[in-house]
């Protein structure tokens, strides 16, 4: 008996306690360097997968090429290690064809924003329901250390021995400018944060873009220390929480206000400002999301981490299905014989 695609598309019920993280581990060696930021991301993904209530066979990880793009080999779900830059194009086709699947992308700053930039912005525009985890290590690692579109000005790499002259993308701004509905940033060193962001991404319908600062110990070691290490991070980053004021600092004694449209740091110490004066985060406000995203490379303000924006829009694959339904309702289900004959046919006998 042949199995039809319809049979496979039907969803199994999974009791929420069915899985443990171990069920998402694969029995092969993970071949990243010791200390690579990828390990933490992998663990957090494996940790939240059981919580999603999605049968394992319904989850697919698609990737391009890069150290980060080896990811699918290490998760025990369906995996597709495609070609450099094309993960989102492959995944878009898959998700449109199979809205029943939970589709994830593991990609790098090069894979996603350099060669894959076009598919990235178009996936954002269309709002296909895909969860994009971009491992940003600000370098091309698999090819052994060239600068990437997120490398910092002056950075020395094998292809910039005298320093990078390019200005980098600000990934969050690019995603927002392209129309992404869910945009977030996290880093490898904070497992709980990543779990939270991954769960939010999974819950969001439409494209979810999560930029993850991922340390590459070999080719760009310590690039994010300033933002991710315990001794600095309270003062160098600000955590975005919906409905909460933008307060930061070890003693939570600093906040961010707007001067005109320019974000400025104020201190609560001298009594000029209080927590009530600072910007309150609102994930639904697209303009605020831009303001926050633009803080990224601004040396005068802390770097925002968390969810920049989360707004609701119908997802692309849903609209595609709805149109098919509407048209079918209007025209009736397609009749292949009628299609073949067309309007003007004749018979010879």
């Amino acid at each position: 008996m042949t199995t039809m695609l319809q049979d496979i598309v039907v969803k199994r019920n999974v009791p929420t306690n069915q899985y443990t993280p171990k069920d998402f581990k694969v029995d092969i060696d993970v071949r990243w360097c010791a200390g690579c930021g990828g390990y933490s991301i992998l663990s957090q993904v494996q940790r939240i997968m059981p919580e999603l209530g999605i049968p394992r066979e319904k989850i697919v990880f698609v990737s391009g090429i890069g150290c980060s793009s080896r990811f699918p080999y290490y998760v025990n779900v369906y995996g597709f290690h495609s070609i450099h830059g094309r993960a989102l194009a492959v995944a878009s086709g898959l998700k449109i064809a199979r809205p029943d699947l939970s589709v994830w992308i593991a990609t790098g700053d090069g894979d996603c924003m350099s060669i894959g930039g076009n598919h990235f912005i178009h996936a954002c525009r269309r709002n296909v329901d895909i969860n994009v985890l971009m491992f940003n290590n600000e370098v091309y690692s698999l090819t052994k250390g060239q600068y990437s579109p997120t490398s910092q000005p002056g950075q020395k790499t094998k292809t910039s021995p005298f320093g990078v002259v390019d200005d980098p993308f600000n990934p969050a701004s690019l995603a927002l400018g392209a129309g992404a509905t869910f945009v977030a940033r996290g880093y490898d060193r904070d497992p709980k944060m990543l779990q939270y962001l991954f769960e939010r991404a999974a819950a969001h319908k439409g494209i979810s873009f999560v930029e993850i600062y991922a340390n590459c110990v070999i080719f760009n070691d310590g690039a994010f220390d300033k933002y991710t290490e315990k001794e600095y991070r309270d003062d160098t980053t600000v955590w975005l929480e919906d409905g909460k004021p933008l307060i930061f600092g070890k003693n939570r004694d600093k906040g961010i206000i707007l001067d005109g449209f320019t974000p400025v740091v104020v201190s609560f110490e001298d009594g000029n400002y209080s927590p009530n004066d600072v910007i309150v985060h609102n994930e639904k406000d697209s303009t605020l999301a831009f303001i926050l995203a633009n803080m990224t490379y601004n040396p005068n303000v802390p770097r925002p981490i968390g969810v920049f924006q989360s707004i609701e829009k119908p997802s692309y694959e849903e609209k595609v299905e709805n149109q098919i339904e509407e048209v079918t309702k209007k025209l009736g289900e397609g009749d292949i014989n009628h299609l073949m004959c067309g309007e003007d046919f004749w018979t010879i006998d």
Binding site: H81, A89, I96, D344, I348, D349
Partner: protein, 614 residues
């Protein structure tokens, strides 16, 4: 008009006018009607490459040519028997192709001073005797319609727009063809515009009646209906045949259809048609570029769809990397390439057969892909089904080569019954006991197909070399050699599953013509003509190019000389030489235009007369 009826086997009519004159429309109507009364029909629309060139200019002429007959017609006709020209430029451009004694039906309203100037005529050719070699019928169609519709109170512009239908009516009269098909079509088209409908119906009848009441004598050609096999027929373009073929293949495979594509002339209509088939549950992604087009199709194929991507040369060039991915993934995929004249942007609206090389050889690494080639508009349907059959059965991308000529020209197509089509049902893997991603069916060497959503078959695929059977990433040297050879063997093995090549004419002897693609029409016409003249010559038309039919080597070996006519610099000829080590003679035309049957006939005749000249 009194008419002297002359019976002819085949007639070529060309409707020509300004881009805005509706020539495509009346051409299509005439060809449908001719089909309906049982003629064999072959047509080709001939647009200017500008979207809307300035009115009346030479480069703004738009034409539609119809070749129909009581015998099978395979080309659009070398010479025009009847030219309908709506203005001076359309006469100028097309006159060189009108045969002596042919009929020219001219709308005199299109030969005013301005028109003559734009057409670069010094004096009016309708009046200066220069057309004495032809039968000239001058009608002021615009004026006639003005009178005819005076009472309707519609705008002068709308009146002017009916003149093409008048011309059509007149041509219907000339060939004694019924009006009902066009009447029915007008009624549907203008259901909501009763005045315009009335105007057009009057125009059609006015044209017809004008013929019946005109005084002058004219030779009329009568064409009996053709002796076509029984069945239901329609006229179809290659592009529509591909579109319908994909839906039919999906139906037979019991799979949903996905098309990932990016517009490009002359392949875009496949995307147009399929975008209109939503009621078949078809999913279409008009992608951001050709790379996303094919990659999204690969994604959908991975998800268990019959997936396709459609394009033309520049787009195929962009799909090269992803094609290699599809090869190593061993996923089914139908790639339709509607060839146009290259290199680069080249002559984008003109046909050529110059993508065979890239289809065959155009991937880095060893990445064999089966290639099939349709021989004409109607055959596009059958070959689309074949492409899908091979893709699904052998788990491989397949390239179907069409070209701008067959893609946009029409032919009558005998509509097959769905039961006549091969069963394309696929077998998804479901059993965790036996499943291995690269375990192969021993007879086809196709790997197992397990789609996401299937419990306990979670596995990983990708572009890195795969270990035999397990599909794990492998850097093992011998495994690589084995996999390269396996992939090759799988494709080579398809030779056992396709029809043998057939030879028309002598089964062995002196001269064998081998051809592929849309040159079928002119070659077949020339070949039949030469056979009728008593020449010993043979013909094999190839619809399967990778692999070649098993008996092709044997066939070639039975002939002293082989000649390949192609719309390129000899791509099939080179391939035959490489595979079969036989010297191949060539007839190449690379002018963005199909061969004329006569051109081929003359070249073949030369060869037949110069036997020594090997």
């Amino acid at each position: 008009m009194s008419k002297k009826v002359e019976h002819l086997d085949k007639v070529t009519i060309r409707f020509a006018g300004d881009s805005g004159d509706g020539m495509q429309l009346v051409g299509t109507q005439f060809s449908n009607t001719a089909g309906t009364v049982g003629n064999s029909v072959n047509t080709f629309p001939d647009y200017p490459s500008e979207i809307r060139a300035p009115e009346g200019t030479l480069y703004g002429v738009s034409a539609y040519q119809i070749h129909f007959g009581s015998k099978k017609v395979n080309t659009i006709g070398d010479k025009i028997d009847v030219l309908v020209c709506m203005n001076a430029s359309s006469l100028k451009v097309n006159l060189p192709n009108v045969r002596e004694k042919g009929i020219i039906i001219a709308n005199t309203a299109g030969f005013g001073e301005k028109n003559l100037k734009l057409a670069k005529y010094e004096t009016n050719p309708l009046d200066n005797g220069s057309l004495s070699k032809y039968q000239l019928i001058k009608i002021n169609m615009s004026e006639m319609m003005k009178q005819e519709l005076a009472d309707l109170g519609i705008s002068p512009k709308a009146v002017e727009r009916t003149k093409n239908i008048f011309a059509l009516g007149f041509v219907y009269w000339l060939f004694n063809r019924p009006l009902d098909l066009t009447e029915k079509w007008l009624k549907e088209k203008f259901a909501n515009k009763p005045q315009i409908l009335e105007a057009n119906l009057r125009a059609l009848r006015a044209g017809y009646n004008y013929g019946a009441t005109r005084q002058e004598m004219i030779v009329q050609y009568n064409v009996h209906h053709a002796d076509l096999p029984k069945g239901t027929y329609r006229n179809i373009t290659g592009n529509e045949a591909c579109a319908i073929g994909l839906v039919a293949a999906a139906t037979k495979a019991k799979l949903p259809l996905f098309l990932g594509s990016y517009p490009i002339t002359p392949a875009t209509e496949i995307l147009h048609f399929i975008s209109g088939y939503k009621q078949f549950g078809v999913k279409v992604l008009q992608a951001e570029d050709e790379i996303a087009g094919i990659c999204s199709a690969i994604g959908a194929s991975y998800g268990g769809y019959l997936a396709a991507t459609t394009t033309s040369g520049p787009g195929l060039s962009l799909k090269v990397e992803a094609l290699g991915l599809a090869v190593i993934l061993e996923l089914p995929l139908v790639v339709i390439d509607v060839q146009r004249a290259g290199p680069s942007t080249g002559l984008p609206t003109k046909p050529e057969q110059s993508d065979l090389n890239i289809a065959y050889y155009g991937r880095h690494g060893e990445a064999p892909i089966p290639i099939v080639a349709a021989s004409g508009a109607a055959d596009c349907f059958a070959m689309t089904i074949e492409a899908a059959r091979i893709a699904l059965k052998y788990m491989t991308p397949v390239i179907l080569l069409s070209d701008g000529y067959m893609a946009q020209g029409t032919e009558p197509w005998r509509i097959p019954d769905m039961n006549e089509l091969p069963d394309l049902t696929v077998n998804f893997a479901t059993d965790p006991e036996t499943f291995k991603p690269y375990r192969r069916d021993p007879s086809t060497l196709a790997r197992m197909w397990a789609v996401p959503g299937t419990p306990n078959l979670e596995h990983r695929i990708g572009g890195l070399e795969k270990e035999d059977i397990t599909g794990l990433v492998s850097h093992d040297p011998l495994n690589h050699q084995k996999m390269v050879e396996l992939r090759q063997k799988k494709i080579d093995g398809i030779a056992n599953d396709i029809p043998l090549a057939e030879v028309e004419g002598e089964q062995s002897g002196d001269l064998l013509v081998v051809a592929w693609g849309s040159v079928y029409g002119p070659v077949k016409t020339a070949f039949d003509e030469l056979r009728e003249q008593g020449h010993k010559i043979s013909y094999t038309h190839l619809k399967y190019i990778r692999p070649f039919p098993k008996n092709l080597g044997d066939i070639l070996s039975r002939f002293e000389r082989i000649v390949v006519p192609e719309m390129n610099m000899g791509q099939l000829a080179d391939l035959l030489q490489s595979k079969f080590l036989r010297p191949v003679l060539r007839i190449n035309k690379i002018q963005g235009m199909p061969f004329k049957a006569k051109e081929i006939e003359i070249k073949l005749l030369e060869l037949l007369n110069n036997k020594g000249d090997k």
